[in-house]
């Protein structure tokens, strides 16, 4: 009995794939740091401070990627009712809140010297702030109920509704006002960015995405163990009742 449990635990905590991902993330972040701090030239107008872009843009990208994953996993959970999807949504939301906060803080550090202010009510900033508030509420709701099935269903509904709300929020704040520098990469025609800078930026995005995958595997494993611990804490009681 104990041996089976141990074997099962060993399987749940198997880490070889995780280690590989971790090493890949570390290497990618290292290369990206060298590219963005040493190889890429300083910006002609903004100087060295523009290098914040190499972490700010990847953080913002991850924020939206994470919440897109929450959206998809939430739909999958409501369709299939498999707890695996709920774990994916929860893990991705936590990482998303982390990187959204990071993107906002890095943006402020960049905005102070360049725009002369920590914060402006610019559309992309404001949308990201609203996004952060929605998913902080998402995480808060996950904590208020002890009933796992109810928690998963509530969270899934908020994960879907929250994501659908984002474009409407964005449109409303775009009409409201605008100051942010226009998108540099995603537009028609040649990008307005020098080759090495572009390479450093894309490397940053790739490195952050690998890091996201690594953090997801860690968080998913913790989620599985939490679930098992909850089940095992209950099983003696269930056994006694029989």
């Amino acid at each position: 009995m104990a041996a089976t449990a141990e074997r099962a635990l060993g399987k749940a905590t198997s880490r070889s794939g995780e280690h590989l991902l971790g090493i890949a993330a570390l290497v990618a972040l290292g290369v990206s740091a060298v590219m963005s701090l040493v190889v890429a030239p300083p910006d002609a107008v903004q100087g060295e401070v523009q290098r914040i872009m190499y972490v700010h843009v990847p953080s913002a990208w991850l924020a939206y990627l994470c919440f897109f994953v929450v959206f998809i996993a939430s739909i999958a959970y409501l369709k299939t009712k498999k707890t695996r999807w709920d774990r994916v949504a929860a893990a991705s939301a936590e990482i998303g809140v982390l990187f959204t906060s990071l993107a906002i803080v890095l943006g402020m550090l960049w905005g102070k010297p360049v725009w002369g202010t920590w914060w402006t009510w610019d559309p992309r900033l404001t949308t990201t702030a609203v996004l952060l508030m929605i998913y902080v509420a998402y995480l808060a709701i996950r904590r208020i109920t002890d009933n796992p099935s109810r928690r998963a269903r509530w969270a899934a509904v908020i994960g879907i509704v929250g994501f659908i709300d984002v474009p409407i929020v964005h449109l409303s704040v775009v009409w409201w006002r605008s100051l942010h520098q226009g998108p540099t990469l995603f537009r028609l025609g040649p990008p307005e960015i020098e080759g090495t800078m572009l390479l450093a930026l894309l490397l940053g995005v790739a490195a952050f995405t690998i890091t996201y995958a690594y953090l997801m595997t860690l968080r998913l494993r913790v989620g599985r163990l939490e679930e098992r611990a909850a089940r095992e804490a209950l099983s003696p009681l269930v056994g006694a009742e029989r």
């Binding site: 508030m133 709701i141 409407i168």
Partner: protein
């Protein structure tokens, strides 16, 4: 019985409870009035500032009241196991959502009329185009009621942590607040031509949240 008929019955039931219990009249109106007077202390007594911020204050008062009204809509259901009865009844879950949303919308509009008059008196707001202001409030109230009625169930089941419901609803309805305030501001100033795009945004918000609500509301109740 069609879903529309079921929704009408639910809305009728909720409004009847309101009329007999006088919750909206007895609690929400004094609450909104108190909020407005507090805003007056915060931004007054200079007429110029008050006049400029009046549309925003008006919508803030409606927003807070919407949070309270949607919570109230499910509070009555939690008494005497009414919600269980509603869930066991052979009716569409989406009809429950739509019925609640209609009832909350009607309550909010009744409140808006009182609040609007108060703001016009207290903050000296003159409205050049009352029809458009009213249109903004009708569309805005539908949006607020849709979000509130969707998540009111969550609020009712998490009564021990009261801050969570507004924490969830306020960011979600950010577009309603922005569009509503801008539309009211422009309509009050007589710049009617610019109001229409904001009304369009409010209408789009209503359509999106009513349809999403119809699709997902059942999952919130499945116990």
């Amino acid at each position: 019985m069609t879903s529309a008929r079921q929704a009408t019955l639910i809305a009728r039931k909720d409004l009847l409870i309101e009329v007999r219990g006088r919750h909206a009249l007895g609690t929400l109106v004094p609450f909104a009035a108190t909020v407005l007077v507090a805003f007056g202390f915060a931004f007054g007594p200079g007429r110029e500032v008050l006049e400029r911020v009046a549309p925003g204050l008006l919508w803030m008062a409606v927003l807070f009241s919407a949070v309270m009204a949607s919570r109230r809509a499910y509070q009555t259901e939690s008494e005497d196991g009414a919600l269980e009865g509603l869930l066991l009844a052979p009716i569409d879950k989406a009809a429950v959502f739509l019925g609640k949303a209609v009832a909350v919308t009607v309550e909010l509009l009744a409140l808006v009329i009182v609040v609007l008059l108060l703001v016009m008196v207290l903050f000296d707001l003159s409205v050049a185009d009352p029809f458009l202001v009213l249109a903004a409030f009708v569309l805005g109230a539908i949006g607020l009621a849709a979000v509130g009625s969707l998540f009111g169930v969550v609020a009712e089941s998490s009564r021990t942590r009261e801050a969570i419901f507004p924490m969830l609803v306020l960011p979600l309805v950010a577009p309603v607040l922005i569009a509503g305030v801008r539309a009211t501001d422009l309509a009050a100033a007589g710049r009617s031509g610019e109001v229409w795009s904001w009304l369009g945004l409010l209408a789009a918000f209503d359509v999106v949240f009513l349809s999403v609500g119809v699709l997902v509301f059942g999952y919130l109740l499945e116990d």
